[in-house]
Assembly symmetry: C2
Homo-oligomer: 470 residues x 2
Amino acid sequence: MNMLMYDLDSKNKVPLHKQLYVFIKNDIQFGSLVPNQKLPSKRKFSEFLKISQNTIQAAYNQLIDEGYIVSVEKKGYYVSKIENIIKLDNNEIFRNKEEKSELSILFDFSINGVDRYSFPYSTWRKLYKEIINENDKTLLTLSGFQGDELLRESIAHYLHQSRGVNCSANQIIISSGTEFLVQLIIQLFDRKTVYGLENPGYEKPRLVFKANDCNIIPIEVDLEGMSSSDKRINEADVLCITPSHQFPTGTIMPINRRGQLINWANKSQERYIIEDDYDSEFKYSGKPIPALQGLDSNGKVIYLGSFSKSLSPTIRISYMVLPPKLMQKYLQNLSFMLCSVPLIEQKVLYRFINDGFFERHLNKMRTLYRKKYDVLVQSVTEMNSNIEILGADAGLHILIKITNGMTERELVQKAFDRGIEVHGISRYFFESVPRSEYPIILLGYASMNEFEIKKAVSMLREAWLMDDDF
Amino acid sequence: MNMLMYDLDSKNKVPLHKQLYVFIKNDIQFGSLVPNQKLPSKRKFSEFLKISQNTIQAAYNQLIDEGYIVSVEKKGYYVSKIENIIKLDNNEIFRNKEEKSELSILFDFSINGVDRYSFPYSTWRKLYKEIINENDKTLLTLSGFQGDELLRESIAHYLHQSRGVNCSANQIIISSGTEFLVQLIIQLFDRKTVYGLENPGYEKPRLVFKANDCNIIPIEVDLEGMSSSDKRINEADVLCITPSHQFPTGTIMPINRRGQLINWANKSQERYIIEDDYDSEFKYSGKPIPALQGLDSNGKVIYLGSFSKSLSPTIRISYMVLPPKLMQKYLQNLSFMLCSVPLIEQKVLYRFINDGFFERHLNKMRTLYRKKYDVLVQSVTEMNSNIEILGADAGLHILIKITNGMTERELVQKAFDRGIEVHGISRYFFESVPRSEYPIILLGYASMNEFEIKKAVSMLREAWLMDDDF
């Protein structure tokens, strides 16, 4: 077995396991590594390249999946026979660059998770059984572009009661997620429209705007959310904000700032505010703060909501509330776009809400997530004095600022080496360049139970060399 | 009760019931009609304005829905009290302009319907019950941008077997309908891309392209489908075609023409063909013709498929197969766009296909739809000699050319007056101007049973004054 020398760059944006995978794949494709050649063992490779065995494993796994190498039990890793490789070149299997080897990740602080055990499986099953009904003539009939009317009515009712949103069912459009709502909005406005996005902010809308070559500008986020005094705000026509729980910083926008942004919108007919109320169901202290939409009496606010956090991201149901004038425009120009959500799903969700299950579920989840929040905060606080928790006690993620001298990249990599997935805040900035002096890490906790949270945090402490105060 | 005089224009694009609705609504809003005022009875109004009672009914229904008038049993129709109207002005209820009063339509020859009785309700129920399973850890975890892997594998397998499409599961992206696949394609290509669309052609893609300000040009459709000799074809970068069963003309593209279009695509690196195989499952005579994608060895064809016809349009599952190079581009640029289809639905569909139910269902539907096709064709043939049936015996709609001197508008209106909904072919042309001398009407027959088909056709005969040869 020959050792392989590769020049891995730990400062590069591309993760180490990816760099290694590419190097080995290239060598195989170009013949520097020949069929049946034995590759270095994980342990020796790890010592030689001075990277973790986890990183080697991840690279090897991807090469196995794609057929470049094989794993022979008790023997090791070998380059595949050559015919397999030629076939694959003609019919290459592509991997989502976001996919990491399942073996590598023990605890995932993803911000997209929900609690797996609390999903109302039996109620959901029961409702599907009732809904898929031969006698329902409407089950196979397209329900128009807005989505199921009863579901919209129940959403309108829920929004009024719990978020102070004023609307009728006919102002609601049901869709499949933020990406899709944003695409609808893009088609509703004209191409000259300038969108002002929170910086830092949720990256999905920004990516959709960019994929559609829209005009976007970054607007600063300060301790109160999107800054009304950022000079660039007057270049924008439409602002996209998360006032209930700024993503990612976790700030709740106070009433004054809300008023300032509504004033901004009222200054011109072309101005609108898109309010993304993505996790407003979860606020762990203080009074609930109503949606910004409720303060708007001039039809300036487009309200976005979703069931991704309150139920599950795999349900893929979200919605927007358009002010009457925009709804009229939508009717004229975009009503050919059929609702993307399967009708059965919509009817099940309607029953879930209407029969009172949703309210019960939300109450249960609030209690549960609040407990997890407390456990996480306590564990992190006990972790080290170089960690500061940022953001309000709301939503399904916290931020931690780490002042032990490590960079964001180092923190993420070291966590990954131990099988913990975390994300830094830098990806949420326009230029991926954060402003704060110290790195900030996001920890989503919804999908882990209390034991896992404690375990994961203690492993982070090891990974980040925080056993003693630094 | 006063009679009301309105100047209705039967040559106007706007349907008569809509014109009437607007006239009455305006009078109410401006006070020419006062609260509690009695409106003309349907019968007298119909006699006075010389339009059908159905038209009056449709207008009255819309006014009732929007709260402008009320229906008092055994008495008639009255203008609503004024407070209701003011409220509505501030919070107007919008109606989908496509919605017609349910009471007006007895038989709908819509091209979007499927047979209501044959949907596999009990299998579908059973599969949902099995899939919504507490033990399935992946049920609440986002499955990435392409959609569920097992479903994609089963689709790839099905496509290979039944359509001769060559692809791996990893070339497939699952989405929620044509509108959404087209939006993904728009974001995949750059904004300068020129799309050549069939003229006449399915209007949905055209509307999506227009809503996104894309460059589109019409390419003639002749008796073999999209014309390879239309001069404009060389202005296009991407052609969108329906070779298995041209929509709407029903032509099946012969092998020579397919070859010509593939040659066209091969002449430049930037050229692609989008093949929309929307109802290829249903062909009633002759050998099945494989997809165009199977003839392509240079990665030039993007293949679109859907379960809207084979299962139900309300399932909202469709997919595209990208050639490897485009899949790579998609991976790099658009993998942030999560799959829009709920995971439960995807898993149920996977089981439905994998357990053999889909194949059984298709066989059943082919037999059933073929019978309906035969009944429709026979009824129409017996109808009158001024009717010519166009297009191949495939798919779920036929076209009829009517040569009795009536215009398309007259044919559609007269049918509507009797409660039959049909569409003319003009809406599928770029400028809504058809080229043929005689009007052509589309008749979708999937949602009606044989009895309804015969009844509907005989009512069309009455409506179109075809009792004797014209």
